[in-house]
């Protein structure tokens, strides 16, 4: 829209400029003719004419411009109206097409819903039909399981009995070996205790004898008089001599 306006403006400016140039040429031709006719025009008149033309042009130009713009606006309005009308037509057509499409869509949806409903009903019906067969199969499986349950129970019982027997045998073996070991340990410990007891009794015996000897030494030592002591010393010397100690 703006581009068209600029184009119209340039076109009107060009028109105005062409008119001005035509007028100037006309004035120059008249001048030459005047000169040729030997009808001499004064300088003052010439300048008056120029001035007049300029003023006329000056007054005339805005009017032309206004006229061009008005014309342009008029054309524009007409074009807009045409475009608006065409757009309205297109919109109406589109509206109709959408309405039509919506109608088709609605119909398709309804037919799809109907189809789904029918399929679901058919499926439910087939399920109901198969229900009996399924329950029959379940009964069969249940019976088989019942039968197998007894067999499994019997097998489990037998296996568990064997297991318990094995376990008892092993436990018994372990306990026997443990008892043997404990018996051995007890016997060892009893021997150790017996040895310890004997040793201790021996130690006690020795200690008793030691005490008796100590008491005897003390009592005998104190009970011996000096002359006996001297006699015992001399006897010791004699014995040493006899044994060739010296």
């Amino acid at each position: 829209m703006q581009e068209n306006q600029i184009l119209a403006y340039l076109l009107s400016s060009f028109l105005v400029l062409s008119i001005v140039l035509i007028l100037i040429k006309i004035s120059k031709k008249e001048k030459i003719e005047i000169e040729n006719s030997d009808l001499k025009i004064s300088q003052k008149l010439e300048s008056f004419l120029d001035q007049t033309i300029k003023e006329e042009l000056k007054n005339f130009l805005p009017k032309i411009e206004k006229k061009i713009v008005d014309e342009f606006l008029k054309q524009e309005n007409e074009q807009i109206n045409v475009i608006y009308q065409k757009a309205s037509e297109i919109m109406d057509r589109q509206k109709r097409e959408i309405s039509l499409f919506y109608q088709v869509l609605k119909e398709k949806r309804e037919s799809f819903e109907k189809a789904i409903k029918k399929e679901t009903e058919d499926f439910i019906y087939s399920l109901l039909k198969q229900k009996e067969e399924i329950s029959k199969k379940i009964d069969e499986i249940y019976k088989i399981l019942e039968k197998e349950k007894d067999e499994v129970a019997k097998e489990m019982k037998s296996k568990s009995e064997n297991l318990v027997e094995d376990f008892s045998r092993k436990i018994s073996q372990i306990l026997n070996s443990l008892f043997e070991e404990i018996k051995l340990k007890i016997s060892e410990k009893e021997n150790e205790i017996e040895n310890y007891k004997r040793k201790k009794l021996e130690e006690i015996d020795r200690e008793i004898y030691r005490i008796i000897i100590d008491v005897a030494k003390k009592t005998i030592g104190k009970s011996i008089d000096i002359s006996t002591h001297e006699k015992l010393v001399m006897e010791a010397l004699e014995k040493a001599k006899k044994e060739k100690f010296f």
Binding site: I213, K217, G221, M234, E235, L237, A240, F245
Partner: protein, 152 residues
């Protein structure tokens, strides 16, 4: 001089006697070279035992011309002889009387034919009898041993 040495040695019976005698010899030697105009027995008055001093006086009387050097030699010889005498160690259970010690001394003279020094040690634990040690060997003739033997 030898008889004199023998006489002096005879007087030493126990180890205590020997130690005391050796000490007195050392004292006498230390006085030898002091105041040579005074006799040694005089110089030793109050310094040694009276018996030892009297023996020195006897010697001075018998050997009138004994020089200081000869005296010193005499003391050295005496010391040497004393240290040669064997020691008999006796462990007994009672405190011995002096005459019993003399009796033992005589017994050794008679039975061994030589002079010994007695080192007597009293130990009541041996009850009676004696433990004897001589030249590195020892024997136990005590009553304690006899009692222990009864138990064994």
């Amino acid at each position: 001089m030898e008889k004199f040495l023998e006489k002096l040695t005879d007087k030493i019976i126990t180890k205590e006697d020997l130690i005391s005698f050796l000490d007195q010899i050392e004292i006498a030697k230390s006085f030898l070279f002091q105041h040579p105009e005074i006799s040694l027995s005089e110089k030793l008055k109050g310094k040694v035992s009276e018996s030892f001093r009297k023996e020195i006086a006897n010697l001075e009387e018998k050997e009138k011309y004994l020089s200081v050097a000869e005296f010193s030699e005499f003391f050295d010889l005496l010391k040497k002889n004393l240290l040669k005498i064997p020691i008999v160690k006796l462990e007994i259970a009672f405190e011995p009387r002096e005459n019993f010690i003399s009796e033992i001394n005589e017994w050794f003279k008679k039975n061994l034919g030589k002079k010994v020094i007695l080192d007597i040690f009293v130990n009541p634990k041996i009850v009676g009898g004696a433990k004897i040690e001589y030249q590195g060997k020892w024997k136990n003739y005590s009553l304690a041993k006899k009692i222990e033997k009864i138990h064994e």
